[in-house]
C-alpha cells in the first residue's frame, strides 16, 4: 500500500512550518513521526495534497523543568518520554502510558505532540494528559495560546487546532509524590486499548481519563467527584461510564465497554492507593 501522491516540503523551522500551513491551507498536513498519519494515508483514509515535514525540527524536542510544570516539546519521541528521568520522576503516569503505546519500533518514531494532535479516542496519551490536568501550547498566525486537555479534544479525530495552527508544547503539572496507574485492556500485544483508564491521585485529588469510552478522549468526572468526596474505589468506579457514549466494534459492545471502564477504573484507583 502506498499513499496517494502529494507534494512534500521540509520545514526549516517552526515559523517556516506555520508559514507553509498558511500558504497551503486545508490541503496541507503536518508530518511529524508519521505513525498516525502515514497509516491513514496508506489506507487512503487521508489524502493531503501537501505534507509539511516538521520531523527534523530538533528544537521542538525537549523536556524542561518550568517550576510547577514540565514543558515537553511537541516533537519529543515516545521513547524519550518513556525514559526521560524528569518525566519518570515527576509525572510517572505519562511515562507509563507512553510505554504502552504501540511497540518499541513505533515509539522510536512517534511523537507526543503528533499522538495528541491526532485526537484519537483509542490512543493512550490523551487520557493520561486529561488525568494529569495537562495542557498544550498551540502556535499560529495570531500567536501562542494555551489550551487545557479538557478543551483540546473536541470530537473523533478532532481537536481545537485550527488548520493554520501547530501544537508546539505540552505542559504537565509536576507531581513527584503522586500515586498513579495506567490500566490498558487489550487482547493481543501491541493492540490499541479496547478500554483504558489513566488514574492519578495527588494530594488527595484524583484525576481519571478514559481511553476509547467516547468519540473523544474523556474525563471520568463523576469518579473524580466521588473519590474527592471520600468514596471507596469500588463505589467511585461504579460511576466510570457515566456520561460516556462508547461505540461498539468487533472487540466489544457498548455494555461490555462500560463494564470494562468500571473494572479498570477500580483497579486503577486501588493501584493509586485508594
Amino acid at each position: 500500500m502506498i499513499p496517494a501522491a502529494f507534494d512534500y516540503v521540509l520545514a526549516e523551522s517552526a515559523e517556516n512550518a506555520l508559514a507553509l500551513l498558511t500558504e497551503h491551507g486545508d490541503e496541507a498536513k503536518l508530518l511529524a513521526g508519521g505513525h498516525s498519519l502515514l497509516p491513514l494515508m496508506k489506507y487512503r483514509l487521508a489524502a493531503p495534497g501537501v505534507l509539511i515535514d516538521i520531523g527534523r525540527l530538533d528544537d521542538l524536542s525537549y523536556v524542561r523543568d518550568e517550576g510547577d510544570e514540565l514543558a515537553i516539546g511537541a516533537l519529543t519521541k515516545h521513547r524519550e518520554v518513556e525514559t526521560n528521568p524528569l518525566i519518570t520522576s515527576q509525572v510517572g503516569l505519562l511515562a507509563a502510558a507512553t510505554a504502552q503505546v504501540g511497540d518499541p519500533q513505533v515509539r522510536h518514531r512517534g511523537t507526543l505532540g503528533g499522538a495528541l494532535a491526532h485526537g484519537d479516542p483509542a490512543s493512550d496519551l490523551p487520557a493520561a494528559l486529561i488525568a494529569l490536568r495537562g495542557s498544550v501550547i498551540i502556535d499560529g498566525p495570531s500567536g501562542r495560546r494555551q489550551v487545557a486537555a479538557d478543551d483540546f479534544f473536541t470530537g473523533f479525530l478532532e481537536t481545537a487546532l485550527a488548520e493554520d495552527e501547530m501544537l508546539v508544547e505540552i505542559r504537565v503539572p509536576k507531581m513527584p509524590d503522586a500515586q498513579w496507574s495506567f490500566q490498558k485492556f487489550n487482547r493481543r500485544a501491541q493492540d490499541w486499548a479496547i478500554v483504558g483508564a489513566a488514574v492519578v491521585v495527588n494530594n488527595g485529588q484524583c484525576g481519571v481519563g478514559l481511553v476509547n469510552m467516547d468519540a473523544r478522549p474523556i474525563r471520568a468526572s463523576a469518579v473524580e467527584t466521588a473519590v474527592n468526596s471520600g468514596a471507596t474505589a469500588t463505589e467511585a468506579a461504579e460511576q466510570a461510564a457515566e456520561g460516556c457514549e462508547p461505540s461498539a466494534d468487533l472487540n466489544a459492545g457498548v455494555e461490555y465497554r462500560k463494564h470494562l471502564a468500571r473494572v479498570l477504573t477500580r483497579r486503577g484507583l486501588e493501584e493509586s492507593g485508594r
Binding site: 502506498i2 497509516p39 522510536h108
Partner: protein, 152 residues
C-alpha cells in the same frame, strides 16, 4: 525528488516520488531484498530496520524522511563472513521456521539489546511485541536473544 540515504555504509541516491516508502526504496532502489514487507501496516515488524541505530518499521516511513540518515538493514549486520552475534544466536538456537519474520526479528532484537543489554526473558518478550512470527516460533527466538545477550 532526489533522496540520498546511507544504507549499510553505502550512499544510495535516487530520484523517487515523495510517497515512496522507505522499505520500497531499500528493496527496489537499493536492491536489498533482505528486508521483507509483511502486513504493510506497521503491525508485524517484518520490515524492521535501523535508522540512526534505532529499530523502526520501514513500511511506515517515507524514504524522504530518511534522506541524509544512516540506515542499517539485515544485510549490513554481518562482518564479512562473520555473522553478527544475534544472527549467530538465531542460527545456533534454530530461531526460525519459515524465516519470513527473521530479518525484522533480528533487527528488532539487536535494537532491544542495545537499549537493554541485560534484558531478561519477560523483557525480551515484551521488547519484541512489535514483531509477529506466523509460525509461532517464539520460544527459540526468545532463547536466541537471551543467548546473544549473554543471559543464557
Amino acid at each position: 525528488m532526489q533522496v540520498s540515504i546511507t544504507i549499510n555504509g553505502n550512499l544510495v541516491s535516487h530520484d523517487v516520488e515523495p510517497r515512496t516508502l522507505l522499505v520500497h526504496f531499500i528493496r527496489e532502489q537499493a536492491e536489498l531484498t533482505g528486508t521483507n514487507v509483511g502486513c504493510d501496516s506497521s503491525s508485524c515488524g517484518a520490515c524492521t530496520i535501523h535508522v540512526n541505530g534505532e529499530a523502526v518499521k520501514s513500511c511506515t516511513m517515507l524514504a524522504v524522511q530518511a534522506d541524509g540518515q544512516e540506515v542499517t538493514t539485515i544485510e549490513g549486520l554481518a562482518d564479512g563472513d562473520t555473522l553478527h552475534p544475534m544472527q549467530q544466536a538465531f542460527h545456533e538456537c534454530h530461531a526460525l521456521q519459515c524465516g519470513y519474520c527473521t530479518p525484522g526479528m533480528v533487527m528488532a532484537a539487536v535494537s532491544l539489546l542495545d537499549e537493554k543489554p541485560d534484558a531478561n526473558e519477560a523483557e525480551v518478550r515484551e521488547g519484541l511485541e512489535g514483531n509477529l512470527c506466523r509460525c509461532t516460533g517464539y520460544h527459540n527466538i526468545v532463547k536466541a536473544v537471551l543467548q546473544a545477550g549473554g543471559a543464557q
